[in-house]
């Protein structure tokens, strides 16, 4: 595995920048940028009360979630409205409107329902990140035209209709397919493809961490693409989840990961990411790190 500060295939032309926008704010994801924290909390999966509220059309919990993620230092907010037995497209549109009314952070529109992604993209003010497409032909055909039409960026997962590959070589083959189809057939720019190398639970298989890190390094070397992952996945089923997530992200960052979908409320994990930014040279003179320290001192003093 070669480190992220080593040369990538595209080193000559500079790092790829994935540019996301709200109506008023721009966020850049790139290997020369501070790590992009995508707040994961606006998601009803596994939250019974929130699901019940959404089914009743009560979106007020979203406002609290937005506030908490913003306060925790999120750069982008992931919005997922995957509630069974509802009109997901309608809910997603309303959730995006609530989020955009509360914050100027760009949004990652998260759904496995194509119609919901489409409605979300229509409603969104700015340049969104679409979460997500896979290497399955059907999904590529349905989602990439939407990404192109709305001038968005897209998260792509290297799994196909047969399997979630457990070897990095197979994952890289699928990344190659995604890149080829997206750029050649749909005219999507390389910098608008964000690969999710599939971070799996380490508690279910002790080899998955290395497999994912090898995939990250491979994607970085061969294409220099930006990457993201569902950071909390890695610690599923384990005690001390925050500490595991806080170790995982700096490892992934050193291999070339440039963003993560994570819970920005957890200071332990966000701090680990910001410290890694500092150590990887993405926080000049540590001004951001020191600024955060001072802000906390001031908050504690009042």
């Amino acid at each position: 595995m070669s480190p992220a500060w080593g040369s990538s295939a595209l080193a000559g032309s500079g790092p790829l920048h994935t540019v996301l926008r709200s109506a008023t704010k721009e966020v850049v994801i790139g290997s020369d940028q501070r790590f992009c924290v995508i707040g994961e909390r606006i998601n009803p999966t596994g939250r019974k009360t929130f699901q019940a509220q959404l089914r009743e059309g009560d979106l007020s919990a979203i406002e609290r979630d937005v506030e908490a993620q913003v306060a925790g230092g999120a750069d982008v907010l992931d919005v997922n409205m995957g509630v069974p037995l509802t009109d997901e497209a309608d809910l997603l549109v309303r959730a995006i409107q609530v989020v955009q009314a509360r914050t100027d952070l760009p949004v990652c529109i998260d759904s496995s329902v194509v119609e919901a992604l489409e409605a979300g993209l229509e409603a969104y003010q700015g340049r969104a990140l679409v979460n997500s497409v896979t290497a399955e032909d059907e999904r590529l055909e349905a989602i990439l035209p939407l990404v192109k039409k709305h001038d968005a960026a897209v998260i792509a997962l290297p799994n196909d209709a047969d399997e979630i590959p457990m070897e990095s070589g197979k994952r890289l083959e699928l990344v190659e397919k995604i890149v080829r189809v997206a750029t050649q057939e749909y005219g999507i720019a390389l910098q608008d493809i964000v690969i999710d190398p599939l971070a799996m639970p380490i508690g279910a298989d002790s080899t998955v961490g290395i497999t994912t890190l090898e995939t990250v390094a491979g994607v970085h070397e061969r294409w220099g693409l930006n990457m993201t992952c569902g950071a909390s996945n890695v610690s599923f089923g384990m005690p001390g989840r925050h500490a595991i997530n806080a170790a995982w992200l700096p490892l992934a960052m050193a291999a070339g990961m440039t963003s993560a979908i994570m819970d920005a409320r957890t200071a332990e994990v966000v701090d680990a990411v910001r410290a890694a930014d500092l150590l990887l040279g993405h926080d000049e003179w540590g001004m951001s790190w020191i600024g955060t320290h001072r802000a906390r001192q001031a908050a504690a003093a009042t």
Partner: protein, 225 residues
């Protein structure tokens, strides 16, 4: 070692996931002419029940569940042919699969381990299982329970497609249907007409046993375990 010491050792070693140790004691027990069903029902199953209980309490974690399941599975490879010879019935047969369109299997595999740990015979059809494949497998294996797993909100509707396929094949009432997966809820299970839902591996075992006992009580068949 006395037979009681063997059983205690099997239980202890299964609980901590000591696979080689469990296998060694299994062979030792059989060498002493201990009955395979005694090893199963008095050591292995109770050990996995304790694993499930500790998991539910938050005292045990996913890897511990996995290695305990693997330790038991190693012993079962030796015991299964012997159990078949003695005509001992399993707790039940559970046919499992991730629905068509979905390739996620980590959760399903955990559930399989706990079901096997509880004495179920598990037939795993893998991922991307089409409705007609579920139907064919039900007709072939005649399981007591069939489990549909889905990880995505987009693949959950396959539950209903599977139910329809079962109806159409005229086998809906021959089998207990359970559904599960990260986005699945009790409401959704009810809406598709499933017989049961459980939120995790340990709860699935309890629910499957309860549904099976209920069905056997109604049909007058004997209830095991």
């Amino acid at each position: 070692m006395t037979p009681d010491e063997i059983l205690q050792g099997l239980y202890d070693r299964t609980l901590v996931g000591n696979g080689p140790g469990v296998l060694e004691l299994t062979h030792q027990a059989l060498g002493m002419d201990m009955e395979p069903q005694v090893l199963l029902f008095d050591a292995l199953i109770p050990a996995l029940e304790e694993v499930g209980a500790r998991f539910e309490r938050g005292d045990f974690f996913v890897p511990e569940m996995l290695i305990a399941g693997k330790a038991m599975a190693g012993s079962m490879e030796v015991l299964r042919p012997l159990l078949a010879d003695t005509g001992v019935q399993t707790v039940g047969t559970f046919l499992m699969g991730t629905v068509k369109g979905d390739v996620h299997d980590i959760g399903k595999n955990l559930v399989n381990i706990m079901l096997e740990g509880a004495g179920f015979e598990v037939i795993d059809l893998g991922v991307q299982v089409a409705p007609e494949k579920f139907v064919a497998a039900i007709e072939e294996h005649q399981p007591d329970v069939v489990g549909f797993s889905a990880f995505l909100t987009t693949t959950m509707p396959m539950f209903k497609a599977n139910m329809n396929a079962l109806e159409k094949a005229g086998i809906r009432d021959e089998v207990i249907v359970m559904v599960g997966g990260a986005p699945v809820t009790q409401e959704y299970a009810d809406a598709v007409g499933a017989d049961g839902y459980a939120a995790d591996a340990s709860a699935t075992v309890k629910k499957a046993k309860a549904l099976l006992a209920d069905r056997r009580a109604r049909t007058g068949a004997g209830v095991l375990a």
